[in-house]
Structure formats: C-alpha cells, structure tokens
C-alpha cells in the first residue's frame, strides 16, 4: 500500500539557514503521527509545508499519490489547528465552525445541520452564539478542533495545540483528541515539543533534531530502545553510559564500565570488541536490592535520595561511575551512604549510535 502522505527528500532553507534537511517521511491513512523535537528542530516548518504556508526549497510532497507542494493552502483540504487556536474574533462560535463549510460552498441548510452536529460532538452546542473571547482556553481549543474537523478534511494538522493549556486540561484534551482520532479514523499530524504528549497520543513518533529525523517508530520502541543519544536524552530520563566493549558473544556484549564494574548488554549490529560505545539505561529499569537479581548486578553506594511522591529518585555511585535509579519506594532501611546492589537486564541496556 502506498503511503497517504509522503515527503520525498524535502529541504527548506530560509536564506542561508537550512531548517529541514533532505527529509523523507511517509504517513499512512488513519495514522496519528507526532513530530517531536526541541524548538528550532524544523518540525513546525514541516507542518507548514504540508499545510501549504511554506514551500519546500527542494523535494516533493505527495498526498494520496498526488503532488501537492505547489498548491496554495486553500486547495489542500487540510484541517489545521493553530497554536493559539486562530479563532475569528469577529464571528460567533457557530459562525467560526460554519466558515470552512461556507468556503466549500455547502448549501445553507446543510451548514446549519453540520455545525449543530459538530458542536454536539464536542458538547459545546450551548455556546454557539458566544464570541471566542468569551470562552475559556479549553473551550476555544475544542472549537478550533471542531472547526478543523467539520469539513471532513483528509488530514488534520495540529501545531502545538495544547501548549497554552494548564496541565490538567492538557491531559484531558490529549485523551479527547485521541478518542476522536480513533472514533473518526482521522489522519493526524501533530507537532509538539512535549515528549509525554507524544508518547501518550501517537501511533508513531518522529523525533526531530536540527532538521533531520533522528528516529521514527512507535512510542514504545522510541522509549525503550532509543537509537541515538539525542533521542535517549530528549525522551524521558536516562543514564548515558560510556563503556568499553570487552567482548561480543552471541549478540551479548560484555562491557567494562570503569571502577572495576562490568555488565552485559544487548549488542546491536556492528558492535565489536575493543571499541567504546554509548549505552542508554532507563532509571526505572534498575532494581535495587541487598543481593543480586538477574544477570547484571553492580555494587554501588547510595549518595542521594529524592522523594517525588509517586517515586524515589536514587543517586548511586562507585568511584567515578554513577547511575540514577527510579523506584517506587526503597525497600529496607537504606539511607544515604548505605551500600546497595543495582541489577538490570541486558536487554534494557541499549546501545546508541551517535
């Protein structure tokens, strides 16, 4: 099956500054893809090129097999939800939602009916005569979403749509958008710099750095087996371990960590004895105990212990080697300065390419 949206070696430069660099990206119909990255990584520019507000300097963009990068935005049939909602302040809620239908020259009676139905869907029918300025942030967000959905566009593009909401409302809206995506089978491209938002909502995440995709995969793979150092550090917290590979045997590498410690890790392809490599070990994969469990066990000392409510963050050291572990609660009466055994599985220690 050919992909629904396809970027083919697309580059975008503003003057001498290259913002997007030879991007290849394929998105399937009905997929929820998040473009995740720090500001300036080019993710918004990609969305703007897809919507038609920017034209690629090089390359081609296809929608459903047709090349669209030369089309103006109003010929692309994409619903866009903007960062600050971009609701028309001089129109009522109902007029805002009716606007795209009027632009498509839908008959009057049908517009009224579809607007009613759409507002019903987000449970804001009672606000239809209000002005956007009389709505709360969450309500405005929902109207912006409704307005983007009402004309049944082939793709919905969202540019950090939840950025202006407070944490609780943001999480609520995440669920709501996810629900709409599933129910209506929408194709959604979602730009965000919030990694937890990307993890909870997406079918796939494309992690961007400096105009390139660092890694694109389902959330679990992105989190559990980050491929690059950037992905490992940008998504969640991790222990970055620089280690020398002592030997490789049957896909298992024996690492010497320094301070006399050694551990085993899952070796990717191309790892050979004698080289130095970076590994990622998620703090919550480390188990703390009095005795070794599993194949990797390191004797460490607790140097710091921070209470976070739902978990503890424990700093472990042995000479110059240190780790951060995350556990629900500390079993036993360990305190700062106490010795502890840190155990983890070889499969949780992921090798990174630079």
């Amino acid at each position: 099956m050919r992909p629904f949206i396809r970027f083919e070696s697309v580059s975008k430069a503003f003057g001498s500054l290259t913002v997007v660099n030879a991007l290849d990206l394929a998105i399937e119909k009905g997929e929820f893809v998040s473009l995740l990255g720090p500001s300036g990584s080019g993710k918004t520019t990609i969305l703007m090129m897809l919507a038609g507000f920017e034209r690629p300097t090089q390359g081609a963009i296809y929608l459903d097999g047709k090349r669209i990068d030369h089309l103006p935005p109003y010929r692309r049939q994409m619903g866009v939800v903007f960062q600050n909602y971009a609701l028309f302040p001089h129109m009522s809620v109902a007029e805002n939602v009716a606007f795209p239908l009027e632009m498509q020259r839908v008959p009057r009676a049908e517009i009224t009916e579809r607007v009613e139905r759409a507002l019903d869907m987000v449970k804001l029918k009672q606000l239809k005569d209000r002005r956007p300025s009389q709505l709360s942030g969450g309500q405005q967000q929902r109207i912006a979403l409704t307005r983007a959905l009402v004309f049944e566009p082939s793709v919905i593009l969202m540019d950090e749509p939840l950025g202006a909401l407070d944490k609780q409302l943001r999480e609520h809206m995440q669920l709501e958008i996810r629900e709409l995506h599933k129910r209506l089978g929408l194709t959604i491209v979602f730009v965000t710099h919030d990694q937890s938002e990307a993890l909870t909502m997406s079918d796939r995440i494309a992690v961007f750095n400096a105009g390139r995709i660092e890694q694109i995969d389902v959330p679990q793979v992105i989190y559990d087996t980050p491929r690059t150092r950037f992905v490992a550090e940008f998504i969640g917290e991790t222990n970055l371990i620089e280690a020398k590979v002592a030997s490789v045997d049957n896909q298992v590498a024996r690492l010497s960590l320094g301070a006399g410690l050694s551990a085993r890790a899952h070796a990717g392809n191309g790892l050979s004895a004698g080289q130095t490599a970076s590994f990622s070990l998620r703090p919550e994969r480390i188990r703390l105990g009095a005795s070794p469990e599993g194949s990797n066990a390191l004797d460490m000392t607790i140097t710091d212990c921070i209470y976070h409510g739902d978990h503890m963050r424990v700093q472990l050291t042995r000479d110059e080697f240190s780790l951060v572990a995350r556990c629900e609660r500390l079993a036993g009466n360990w305190t700062v300065g106490a010795p502890v055994v840190a155990s983890f599985d070889p499969s949780d220690c992921t090798v990174l390419t630079q």
Partner: protein, 395 residues
C-alpha cells in the same frame, strides 16, 4: 494619616497646576468668550440703562410714555464712552435701518440742550414718532439673545416673536454648513479609499520597506499646513507640474481645471489628512494575529474571500476611527479651501473668519463656531464609543 494624604494630593495638584492654568487661559476662556459672544447682547442696555428700565412696561402700541422719552434723554446725556455708544448705535442700526442717522441727529441735540427736562425728542426728529425705532430699542434691551444662534441656521424671530425661516436669498449658512459636511465627507471617502489599502500594505511589509511607507505618510505631518497647501497650489495650476506632465505625455490637450474648484480642495485636503486615516488602520491591522489569515486559507478561503471575510471586518474599527478623525478635522478646514477653492468651495470656517475679522460681528461668529463645536463634539463622542469597544482579544 489624613493630613499625609492631603499633603500628597495637594502636591500632585501643584504639579498639574501649570497645565490647568494653560487649559483655562488658552482653551476654556476663549471657549467661554465665544459662547458669551453668541448669546450676550448687552451693547444697548449697558449704555441706556434707564431707558431699559422704563421701556419694559411699553406694550408696543403707540408712542411710549413721556417717562421713556425722559429716560432716553438722560441716558444719552450721560453716555460719555464714545466706543460703547458707537457699539450700541451699530447694534440698533442693524435691527432698524435709519437708526444711525436718527441718533446722529438726536445725540448732539440732546447733549447741547441746557435743561434736559425741556428736551422734546419729536421736535429734534419727527421719526421718534415711528414705533419701529422704539420697537428695535425695546427688543435690543434684554441682555441675552437667541438672534445669533438662529441666524447661524438661517432663522430669525418675526415681529410677533415666533421663529421663522430667513428669506432664501438673505442668508446661506445652512448651504455653507451642508457644503462643509459634503466636502468633509468627500475627503473622508477619498482618504479611506487610499488609506485602507495603504495601511494594509504597510502592515504586511517588514523592515525598511514598512519604514519607508510609514515615513512617507507621517513626514508631511511635520511640515506646515500652509506650506503643503502652497505646494499643491503650485502643482495643481494650469501651468503646474501635473497639467504639464499630462500634456507632455499627450493624455490631454488643454489643462484640466484642478485648482479654484472643489476638486483641488479635495485633493489637497486628502493629502494633508491621509495620516489620520492610515495610522489608526495600521495600528488595528498590526493587532490582528497573522495566523487568522492562515487559518482562513487552510479552511478553503482564497485570498479574496479571506480578505472580505476576515481581514476587512477586523480592520473596520480602524477604518471607523480614521474616518471620524479625518471628518472631524476636515470640517474645520480654512486655509486649504481659501487658497485652492473657488467662491463656491468656502467652508464654514471661512464664514466664521469673515464675521470675526471682516465685519466684527462677534455674536454670529461665536454662534457659527458653537455649531461647528457641536458637530465635532457629537462626532467625538461616537469616536470615543468606537475606539474603546473591544477589538481583537489577545490570544
């Protein structure tokens, strides 16, 4: 505590005192002088106080009583202020023609008489039998009058005291006021037609291009109005730059009549007042979030429909403020119509100037000024209402 507040307050008052004094001397006092000039009519009663007191009882039938004659004689003998007397005579003569010669004969005779009780006015001049003059004298006595304000709208009181329209050919204040409003409206429309696209263009550009556009509009504000009008005088002449250029490229054979007519006035006033249109629109457009236009386009609106449905409606508050501002300033214009207009393009300010400096009819000048002030105040109230109404809310 209370004393402290009081001291603070009086300190603040002291700081604004200069501006209060300035306002009082250069704004409130002239305004008050204008209002009083329009309504106060005491030139006669000041000079003839006894006559004023005695003529009140006269009912207008027949010649007034002997007492009134005596009072007038006494007043005229007592009047030593030549200037005040002159003003009274002028006031009376404007009410009843012939009063000047009547008094011209009466006053020396009254002053020359040895015994005031023996003076017989009818003997000095038989016209004192005419009730017309006594009537004018009686009507000139009340210290306040609505004569000027009625004259400003081409009305007057007839012999019976009821308000009637002035004869059509006697006065043209209404016509001139209408013309003033018409010229101001033409200038406002011209400014809007040029100013709206200009402001939109300026707001859509960035960097030096925007600065150049804004400078081109603001720079004339720093030039004297007279200089700009004179510049248009040179440009618009039959032998001026515009006519010469048009003839040179063969567009016209004979010079277009651009000056000493309505067209010249509107062209020059539009240029002078354009900043008052462009700047409010520009500032309103700058406040419109850019992504609104992007949003409209993403929903299928082409550039034209996005303009009509989104940009134009959101610019309207600016257009409205600009229009009111231009209109308000335009109705008070004086120099430009005077220099560039013909006889039929003079506006109400010229008429006010004519009464004030030409015929020294301060009362009518004040009344016309008040009318202008009234129109401006009404417009300003509307302007205030619109400029404080909620515009584009912050996102």
């Amino acid at each position: 505590m209370k004393a402290g507040v009081l001291r603070e307050r009086s300190g603040a008052l002291l700081l604004v005192l200069p501006v209060l004094v300035f306002m009082a001397v250069f704004f409130l006092w002239p305004l008050w002088a204008m209002v009083t000039a329009a309504f106060v009519d005491d030139a006669v009663s000041k000079v003839l106080p006894r006559t004023a007191a005695s003529i009140v009882s006269w009912n207008g039938q027949g010649v007034p009583s002997e007492a009134a004659h005596k009072a007038l004689v006494q007043d005229l003998r007592a009047a030593t202020d030549e200037q005040a007397l002159g003003e009274a005579v002028r006031r009376l003569n404007s009410a009843a023609s012939g009063f000047r010669t009547l008094l011209g004969r009466t006053i020396p005779a009254v002053k020359a008489a040895s015994d005031p009780a023996q003076v017989d006015l009818l003997a000095i001049d038989p016209r004192w039998k005419d009730t017309r003059f006594w009537m004018a004298l009686k009507e000139a006595m009340p210290p306040y009058t609505d004569r000027n304000i009625l004259a400003a709208v081409d009305m007057k009181r007839d012999a019976s005291g009821s308000i009637v329209l002035e004869a059509a050919d006697a006065s043209a204040h209404r016509l001139i006021m209408l013309r003033t409003l018409l010229v101001a409206a033409m200038v406002t429309i011209a400014c809007a037609v040029i100013g709206l696209p200009y402001a939109m263009l300026a707001a859509s550009l960035t960097g030096w291009k925007r600065s150049v556009l804004l400078l081109a509009v603001v720079l004339p504000l720093w030039t004297s109005l007279l200089v700009r009008t004179a510049a248009w005088f040179i440009l618009l002449q039959n032998e001026g730059l515009i006519n010469r250029a048009l003839q040179a490229i063969g567009l016209i054979d004979s010079p277009l009549p651009l000056i000493f007519n309505r067209l010249g006035v509107v062209i020059a006033m539009t240029h002078v007042l354009l900043p008052f249109m462009v700047l409010p629109i520009y500032s309103v457009i700058l406040g419109i979030p850019r992504n609104l236009m992007s949003a409209a386009q993403s929903m299928g609106a082409g550039p034209v429909r996005a303009f009509w449905r989104v940009l134009l409606p959101l610019s309207l508050p600016g257009l409205l403020s600009g229009s009111l501002l231009v209109f308000m300033v335009a109705i008070g214009y004086y120099i430009t119509p005077a220099l560039l207009g013909g006889a039929n393009d003079q506006m109400i300010s010229s008429v006010i100037a004519f009464y004030a400096t030409g015929t020294a009819n301060w009362g009518l000048a004040g009344a016309l000024g008040l009318m202008l002030l009234g129109v401006t105040t009404v417009l300003y109230t509307i302007y205030g209402r619109f400029s404080t109404s909620p515009q584009v809310p912050g996102a």
